[in-house]
């Protein structure tokens, strides 16, 4: 727990001050995806809004996939991180609309995925949902000579690919 007062309008806590929202954003940037621990929740683009509501910090989150089991873990991690940063009883709300798209993954997130060995989503979600086969670059050697092994991979958000040059199998973050 950080020293000083709690941030929140209940008894024993102070109201919002300048810089608090920035603190909240930078705190969230340290909360990593439990399945892919190199990308933060901001890299993934799942934090849709940070706001001050009725004396509490409110975080609007959108799930990546309807059944993603990491959703609850991420919510707990975010709550814990914000409480440790001094925010009292932050409120987390799930926002389904507009639906999450891989287009919201930041450039930094894409670089981090690649460095971790996961090919980032290729192209825009619209084209991919229309059935266009993506050109997936091998995250190990950069070759475009890859093939899909399975439409589904180790988690809901990934497909399984193989590089036909360096022969390494790899995960591809599906474009939705």
């Amino acid at each position: 727990m950080r020293s000083g007062e709690l941030i929140g309008s209940d008894q024993g806590a102070r109201g919002l001050q300048q810089g608090d929202l920035d603190l909240a954003w930078s705190t969230l940037d340290q909360v990593m995806d439990p399945e892919v621990p190199v990308v933060s929740v901001l890299d993934l683009g799942i934090v849709r809004d940070l706001d001050w509501q009725a004396g509490h910090l409110q975080v609007a989150l959108t799930p990546t996939y309807s059944g993603c089991p990491a959703t609850e873990v991420i919510e707990n991690d975010i709550r814990q991180a914000l409480e440790q940063a001094g925010f009292k009883a932050p409120r987390l709300v799930r926002q389904l609309t507009p639906a999450w798209t891989t287009d919201w993954i930041t450039e930094r997130g894409r670089q981090r995925l690649r460095a971790y060995g996961i090919a980032p989503p290729s192209g825009s979600s619209k084209r991919s949902l229309l059935g266009d086969a993506p050109q997936v670059l091998c995250p190990q050697c950069g070759s475009a000579h890859s093939e899909r092994l399975s439409e589904f991979g180790s988690t809901a958000c990934k497909a399984l690919y193989r590089c036909r040059d360096c022969l390494e199998p790899f995960d591809y973050f599906k474009c939705i």
């Binding site: 996939y65 309807s66 059944g67 609309t97 639906a99 999450w100 059935g131 589904f152 809901a156 939705i176």
Partner: protein, 253 residues
Amino acid sequence: MNPANDLINPLLRLGDSALIQGQRLCEWCGRAPALEEELALMNVGLDLVGQARNWLDYAAELLADGRDADHLAFRRDERAYRNLLLVEQPNGDFAVTLLKQFFYDAWHLETLKGLSQSADARMAGIAAKAVKEVTYHLRRSSEWVERLGDGTEESHQRMLQALPRLWRFTGELVDIHATEVELHRAGLWADPAQVGEAWRAKVESLFARATLPVPEAPSHFYLDARRGLHTEHLGPLLAEMQFLPRAYPDAVW
């Protein structure tokens, strides 16, 4: 017409169908013919269970009788379930599983596309999210039906055997129900006529590629999932799925 009330059964139909289809897919866990297929079956199941939770959350709110989504999933009896008869059918072999998945996916995607245009923002939001996931499901099941139908002598035979086991349950996918027509007129639901037509068109074009015959439209069936009249297969499925919450009520991790 009371839209909030009338929405409950169609919402349960969507949520229950996703849940039961998801549960059937999970029965393949550890038994799939290849690792990649195991991953795919479980991933599709996971998407569906997540969607089921979204629909059942909403249904529970409209019911407003103190039950939540977990209660709806784990404490309702067979007669209160509204899922399609198709999805409660046993998995059989891989041909039955994939053909069942395709029939369901084709109906599901069309229904969700219609619902994503609903005037009810909550419903439109859940549907728009699910459309992205189910697009993948349908692509995969279509590829398999084509590959198995137009594959080896053995796989073609298996598909021919799977077809009559499932076809009689597809009447529900194209029927037109008065409540849903009313809801559609009110801008809340997918157009049932359009869903049925699109489903037939998808089946016909895929079956042509898969070298499978399209049977006559199934005749009226004496069971009716909309009234909770299920086949003999739902009861044992629920007994397994609901065992723990029923044996240990309010158990927590």
